[in-house]
């Protein structure tokens, strides 16, 4: 967890090519009413790979990663997660949700439960872990995200950055194989962004398979094995961060990058 964001060095890759892909999206299509929000999206994420997804607002980034754990349903194409095909089979869905952790832009902590209860609820009830063990595990991850002393407080008593770190710890307590992040820092004040990104860098260093929707280009450069650029529901371009950012091959990505850079 010593990683600092300002280093230019890319952290070591942990992609395991021997293992089957952690996530496979094959020509996925989705409509909201008549609006076509995902168009033939194909994406393959290897175990241990870290993918950053970027693109303009409304391009379907959230929709795509929410399809991976069925918070949204796709209508055409295949999605295979950790060897389970996402279909109407309820057991496959349960298995996938156990293995996939998700962190939301708006934290979504449970306000009526303490931080510790937020972290232990799912391990106890979904993983059937004894309470004591779940609490030890929760304290372990809360220590990792550097807020063990807040365990007995309620979410409303924490700052935004702290809440988001609790949300990460809560997801980790399920010991997921894959973590999805949907703009985890966009709701945060600048001074809190770094503490959350540091936590995520630490996770990446440990070899977690991650898909991360974010506009933090520094984070992408340091952590991502691959950057995926989406626009209007399509994957327009993808590649290593350096190559993509310095040599965008499509007009759309050029425009997007210039807007992002102007914004910073």
């Amino acid at each position: 967890m010593s990683a600092a964001l300002d280093t230019d060095t890319h952290i070591a890759s942990s992609i395991r090519t021997d293992a089957p892909p952690a996530i496979l999206l094959d020509r996925v299509n989705k409509w909201y009413g008549s609006m076509h929000v995902l168009r033939d999206v194909s994406l393959q994420v290897a175990t241990g790979e870290r993918v950053v997804v970027c693109g303009p607002s409304g391009s379907g980034k959230s929709t795509m990663i929410r399809c991976i754990n069925r918070l949204e349903q796709h209508q055409e194409g295949r999605i295979v997660v950790d060897g389970h095909e996402l279909a109407d089979d309820v057991r496959a869905l349960d298995a996938i949700r156990r293995e996939v952790g998700m962190v939301f832009q708006s934290f979504n902590l449970f306000p009526h439960l303490t931080i510790l209860e937020n972290c232990t609820l799912a391990p106890i009830w979904v993983r059937r872990m004894p309470k004591r063990e779940a609490e030890e595990l929760a304290m372990h991850y809360l220590t990792r995200v550097k807020i063990p002393d807040q365990a007995l407080k309620y979410p409303g008593q924490l700052s935004g950055g702290q809440q988001q770190r609790v949300a990460i710890a809560r997801a980790l307590c399920m010991k997921p194989k894959i973590m999805l992040f949907d703009e985890p820092t966009s709701a945060l004040d600048p001074e809190m962004i770094k503490e959350v990104l540091d936590t995520m860098v630490g996770l990446a260093e440990d070899g977690m398979t991650m898909i991360c929707v974010t506009h933090e280009m520094g984070f992408a450069r340091q952590v991502a094995d691959r950057v995926v650029f989406m626009d209007r529901g399509e994957v327009v371009e993808q590649g290593a961060p350096e190559q993509l950012f310095s040599n965008p091959s499509t007009e759309r990505l050029k425009t997007f990058l210039s807007q992002i850079l102007r914004g910073h």
Partner: protein, 381 residues
């Protein structure tokens, strides 16, 4: 505090300003009066006029209710009471309560067995008090409820343990009101939660069923539901099967309260941000885990005020069973003044009954305020 030496002057730092008294007349009762009652000549005038009427009527009420009142009369000789009604200094005839209180409270229950419904009322009230205390909110409470309700049934019916059998037709008064309200809420509330959840179900059949139930029940007055329960329902039953009248009324009351409570609960479900559902799902919680641990605890807290509002309204609505001839508290009160000797003393009886209703309703209201404050503590930073 005064024995701690205050040394605020540090070298180089100007001495802190000495604490000052607040300006005169911004605090204290005098200031309150001035700000709220006498802030302008119009306010002052209104205050004085209202004060005059309030004091005048308060004095006449005290005169009527206490000073001139008659508290008891010898064996139904109500002549003194009647004289008092027409005298220039009218007074209340509380003798009617003294004389009839057992009938009002317990109806036509056999007189020498009145201790049984009395114990039942005490048991019910004790049950409410115990259930209200958060420190007893454990699963054992369900056992306490079951045991108490069985005890209440035994006391009311009798026929065992040397208690004489009392048929349901002879029950009456406060126990009936408490039975209808308690069983009504105890069954209507879980029903309401299921219906509210069902209305948001992804299964169309369940959703349609729940919507139909709520709309049908809300579309008719409780009175017609009670009529249906007491008159029409028995027609559909096969010959020889006879469900007792109180039970039928009870079912009508449960269905009625369930529909209203369901809408209140649904309001709470809708007020919860979608992110709470999504976070619970993303963690892999099953539908019932999500509902039980995340959704309902938050949704119900949000709707405590309208929920208790419905509870209170419904507690009083149980008095409508009088139209199908069930002898609840209010009916017993009405019947008490039917007797020629006591005719015309309805006001006193209704006041006494109001006090009983008020005690229960006000207790519910106060309790809900405390509960709300306590359960929503986590919202306060």
């Amino acid at each position: 505090m005064s024995d701690i030496p205050l040394n605020t002057s540090v070298a180089g730092v100007p001495e802190a300003a000495a604490p000052r008294q607040p300006p005169a007349l911004t605090t204290g009762p005098a200031a309150w009066l001035r700000a709220n009652l006498f802030s302008s000549w119009l306010n002052t005038a209104m205050t004085l006029v209202l004060a005059y009427f309030i004091v005048r009527y308060a004095i006449s009420f005290v005169d009527w209710a206490f000073v001139n009142a008659i508290w008891s009369v010898p064996n139904n000789q109500t002549a003194a009471c009647r004289a008092l009604k027409t005298s220039p200094n009218p007074g209340a005839c509380w003798a009617v309560i003294t004389e009839k209180h057992r009938f009002i409270l317990f109806g036509t229950y056999p007189y020498e067995e009145h201790w049984r419904p009395a114990v039942v009322c005490v048991l019910f009230t004790a049950l409410y008090v115990v259930s209200a205390m958060r420190r007893f909110w454990r699963w054992e409470l369900a056992v306490v409820w079951a045991v108490t309700l069985v005890a209440i049934g035994i006391l009311m019916w009798g026929g065992v343990f040397g208690l004489s059998y009392v048929p349901q037709e002879r029950w009456g008064g406060l126990p009936i009101t408490l039975i209808l309200a308690t069983f009504g809420l105890a069954f209507a509330f879980p029903l309401a939660i299921l219906v509210a959840l069902g209305r948001r179900s992804s299964m169309p059949a369940i959703r349609v069923l729940c919507i139909a139930y709520v709309e049908l029940i809300r579309g008719v007055p409780l009175i017609s539901l009670l009529f249906m329960a007491s008159v029409m329902f028995p027609l559909f039953l096969p010959e020889g099967i006879n469900i007792d009248k109180l039970l039928r009324a009870q079912v009508a009351v449960i269905l009625f309260a369930g529909a209203y409570l369901a809408e209140v609960v649904r309001g709470g479900l809708q007020a919860l941000p979608k992110g709470q559902y999504e976070a619970a799902e993303a963690l892999g919680l099953s539908y019932w885990q999500k509902t039980g641990f995340i959704i309902l605890p938050q949704a119900l807290r949000l709707v405590i005020p309208p929920l208790v509002n419905t509870f209170i309204g419904f507690f009083k609505d149980t008095s409508l069973v009088l139209i199908i001839g069930i002898f609840d508290l209010l009916t017993a009160g009405k019947t008490a003044v039917v007797e020629p000797a006591w005719q015309g003393f309805g006001v006193e009886v209704y006041i006494a009954i109001s006090v009983i209703y008020f005690v229960y309703c006000f207790a519910m209201s106060r309790y809900s305020q405390n509960l709300e404050a306590e359960l929503n503590r986590h919202r306060v930073r």
